[in-house]
Symmetry: C2
Subunit: 465 residues, 2 copies
Amino acid sequence: QSSFSEISPSEFFYRNRDLAGFSNPAKALYTATRELVENSLDACESTATLPKISVKIRYSEEERHEQDPRTYVITVQDNGNGIDPRQAPNAFGKVFYGSKYRLKQARGMFGMGGTMAILYGQITTSKPVTITTSTDGREFHTFRLLIDIQNNKPIILSRSTRRGVGSSGTSVEMLLHGDFFRASAKIRDYFRQTALVTPYAEITFIDPQGRLWYFPQTTKTVPKAPIETKPHPHGFDFEAMRRLLKQTDESSFPKLLMNEFHRVGKQTARNFLTFAKFDLRTDPRKISNEETVRLVDAMHQFDGFLPPDSNCLSPLGTEILKAGIVSELQPEFYSIAIRPPAAYSGYPFIVEVALAYGGKVIGEGVRLYRFANRVPLLYDEASDVAGQVVSELLDRRAYNIPREAPLAVITHVCSTKIPYKSVGKEFLAERPELEKELKNGLRETLRQLKSYLSRKGSIEAVQRR
Amino acid sequence: QSSFSEISPSEFFYRNRDLAGFSNPAKALYTATRELVENSLDACESTATLPKISVKIRYSEEERHEQDPRTYVITVQDNGNGIDPRQAPNAFGKVFYGSKYRLKQARGMFGMGGTMAILYGQITTSKPVTITTSTDGREFHTFRLLIDIQNNKPIILSRSTRRGVGSSGTSVEMLLHGDFFRASAKIRDYFRQTALVTPYAEITFIDPQGRLWYFPQTTKTVPKAPIETKPHPHGFDFEAMRRLLKQTDESSFPKLLMNEFHRVGKQTARNFLTFAKFDLRTDPRKISNEETVRLVDAMHQFDGFLPPDSNCLSPLGTEILKAGIVSELQPEFYSIAIRPPAAYSGYPFIVEVALAYGGKVIGEGVRLYRFANRVPLLYDEASDVAGQVVSELLDRRAYNIPREAPLAVITHVCSTKIPYKSVGKEFLAERPELEKELKNGLRETLRQLKSYLSRKGSIEAVQRR
Ligand SMILES: Nc1ncnc2c1ncn2[C@@H]1O[C@H](COP(=O)(O)OP(=O)(O)OP(=O)(O)O)[C@@H](O)[C@H]1O
Ligand SMILES: Nc1ncnc2c1ncn2[C@@H]1O[C@H](COP(=O)(O)OP(=O)(O)OP(=O)(O)O)[C@@H](O)[C@H]1O
Ligand SMILES: [Mg+2]
Ligand SMILES: [Mg+2]
């Protein structure tokens, strides 16, 4: 007979760490770095603070091996909002624990990235992580933690508090088995591309050879902060409705819809209830299971709901895209398309596409730079919907672009929920609505390039005569 | 200040069901079907029973919509080993619960596939799943279950037992929001390809229009069953060693190594301990943390361990491959390469590659059929290491194969742990050892095709004269 067991979330990802991006020492060093940096950027932006982030990757002193793969110490420090000391052990020592389980644009969303970095470090070096954090710049709390992997909880080896004068922020220091030789190009690309879309952040990176990579703040304007939003009726399922009706004390059906859903006004609520064949005076807390089924079905079919608006989102915008393209790519021509807001399964999103052509910096051929919620995606281009759109549209020569033309394509998607296809957050799923906006954005920018090239062609023809 | 929360594993995959393959009604219908069928095949093979599996997808009677997407009832029945009634509620109602958390080749590995199908059905229809199972053919237990998603546990709505005369087995019946119109081609392909590599199984599929698709048993020989194996030292990390030393009562270090690891004999154990600078009389339960670190490091560096053997694996073999290729593809030529056993991170695996060329059935161009542990993989070819190997090697024209040549490539990987890149089990990660074996297998079969084509070319040249 089969013998059954249950495993905890940390045990699951310990056994299947490929799923989270920790497949080998080089990739693991990259993933640990990005997960910690993205936590820091989220923490700074949550209080509209200009981010100051310093990252150091150095050899471990007690290293037995002298060549890669080997033990590294990675330290990431930020001036973000810090973590409540009562929450810090769970935030870092428990998988599926975090503050980003809300309907709001952020880099983090799964509640496990930082924890997985620490877990990987622990199983490859046996060493604990050291976290220092302050929410007020006066009390600084330091924890040394291990993860009890079988039980998905932190083990606090030591904790201390000291008073000081400084700013809020967090520093995470951990050891791990990495391969900087193989990972360094990708890690440097990650920092450069992050700096491109986050020009208001100051990022310092010191590599194992002691070299300093400095990405200064090039603007003091922080983009508007994303806002938490309510769910849209089109994305609501029975489980969500069951929970809503169970915990609400609202006895007015229209009021419930207006309070709980995104952009549902009084008239819309009434029209919808009539469409769904509910008496307007029905108490929503008292409807039966069958009626709940009818309610949710009607929600998906009713076309009178306003589409999700994107005020809750914070796209890059033309300023940042222009600045990044000009400084990094120095092209002879560029075009930018900011698509109108759209939605998939009720989640609002905005697609931004930019094209940069020619100049001395961009290499021959087509190079794609993908971003999601301001995070650079450097792996699995062929699996990403953006990669598929680019190879499909650019193969068609419909735009008369020469094969070896130096061309850079930049795509950015921002949303309250990025449709990542894996917990490693490396590529996006082929959601039809997303695919459509990427295609339209790319066509828009390609048309502008095409007319530039034909103007240029005719000008050169004239000059030759 | 940030507000934190913890979510359960079922809550996590409820919110992120794209990760598990439930991104839209068509894909969800496909994924639910395959997860249930793979559970049934695993259950039959675990007792070397010739599988008899019947699948029925029909419209739900109380359906309000009359076109896709709409509610379907899916029923999967098998003659497998059944499930202990004390385990059945958790097996189906809890994520990260199952009997496949061992080092043994099987289709299932995550402990969540069947549960996710039921979860998706529940949130899209509000209906419970009905499970009937018997381990002895005499007592039949029926459960109606819902999943308490927030707490990751089953809710038993009803349970009953009846006595009867029959065989062991399990039937799962559930409702879900699906799209058979869009999914039917993929679902039929799934059954056809499953039948190809499982000719000892009888599979019956009745579709919503009432059409019967019958895949008869074409052989009574069940392939040898996979065996559970011990871990190999090269894949062992500190967490695994820490746990091993903590729970063992073995006081002899060499004995511990011989008992707990794969293919470690007395001499190897002694040679290794000497290499790792341990006294042979050391009590392994008493070593310090530092010594454990030294032990694990040495394990990874010691080259005196025998490589993993593949006796625990159950590849398809030439018989099954030949039979499937001839019956399904009727090619003018085929070649088969069974690679020698290899390993990645200490996990043994065997790669089998087959090539089928020409004939009336195979269409123009190259078509790739991928399998892992006898499961057909029908999505995300571009993301799969096999897809990448095929497009890389076949682009090179090194084998003089005409562009529109009708060519089918079949790849099968069997292992104690398939390196899936996502919990949806759709594509394999680019592990270098796996990539190498796939390339060598493909080159082997391509060389045989090339010599066939040149012999054929010279024969035709002779005939023309
Ligand atoms: N540098 C930091 N400053 C402030 N809070 C932090 C920092 N790093 C982590 N946290 C807190 O710890 C929580 C857990 O982090 P973790 O990276 O494990 O998950 P996440 O960021 O929520 O989601 P994801 O898995 O997508 O990264 C975060 O939600 C955040 O509240
Ligand atoms: N038809 C069946 N017959 C016998 N046992 C079954 C059947 N279906 C499920 N089970 C049992 O229920 C457990 C959980 O199934 P589930 O599909 O959720 O996970 P899994 O098959 O172990 O892994 P995976 O997530 O990779 O599918 C299985 O491990 C198996 O023991
Ligand atoms: Mg994070
Ligand atoms: Mg399963």
